[in-house]
């Protein structure tokens, strides 16, 4: 391979954005948190009512820091 071909090959794999990578790395923890939220929604009627009324507020009050994807999963569970 000449230098130009090497350069093309080396440029083809830039680093993935670190924020993306970190979010994927934290996936197991995020799923555990989500499972805990869903279990509490099923077991705690008051929490479920609060989450139905204002999901983000209810989660914040309960100490859950949910990202958008987790919020979507919780909304789907509430339907």
């Amino acid at each position: 391979m000449d230098d130009a071909e090497l350069a093309r090959a080396l440029r083809a794999l830039p680093p993935a954005p670190e924020a993306w990578v970190q979010a994927a790395v934290e996936l197991p923890r995020a799923r555990r948190e989500l499972d805990a939220v869903l279990a509490r929604l099923d077991a705690d009627a008051a929490f479920r009512a609060a989450a139905t009324a204002d999901l983000e507020r209810a989660l914040r009050a309960a100490g859950f820091g949910a990202g958008e994807r987790q919020l979507d999963a919780v909304r789907a569970h509430l339907r």
Partner: protein, 182 residues
Amino acid sequence: MTDAELVAACRTGDEDAWAQLVRRHARYVSAILRGGYRLGDADAEEVFQEVYERAYTRLESLRDPAALRPWLAQLARRAAVDRLRRNAREDVSDEVADRADAAAAAELERLELALTVRAALAELPEHCREIVDRFFACDESYHVIGAALGIPAGTIASRISRCLAKLRAQLGGRNSAAAGVG
């Protein structure tokens, strides 16, 4: 750890192994989505997470743990096509998906070559790995590289040139070994 060992460790719930798995293949997955399927940043970010979510939940179904990378590539391709279909008008979504797949095929071949080059780069001394990666993959200027590595910017070009020569030699050695020569 090999990919097979990483998969085995992940299957026991080892989160450090999961982190390694993510980081090891992040460039490749990202390149498939952005370079292969030309997803914009917002879509690429979401699909990147989808790929790893699918990998995490379906890891038990991977029959050959040594084939982790092509399996991730398949997950990435499917997720990218799903996203393109969703973004397209319903009446042309199949056409859009087929065109994207065809366009991505050539890029995916180039990525295989790129992976070979990166594997050879990984066997070079760290100073070469660092400077070559920063200049080509990270697109950093001589000035930025010099400041980061504490070396004069005026020497960067010649250092890169020497490292590329080593990289070519490393690739040539790999090719010889593969051909059973020397």
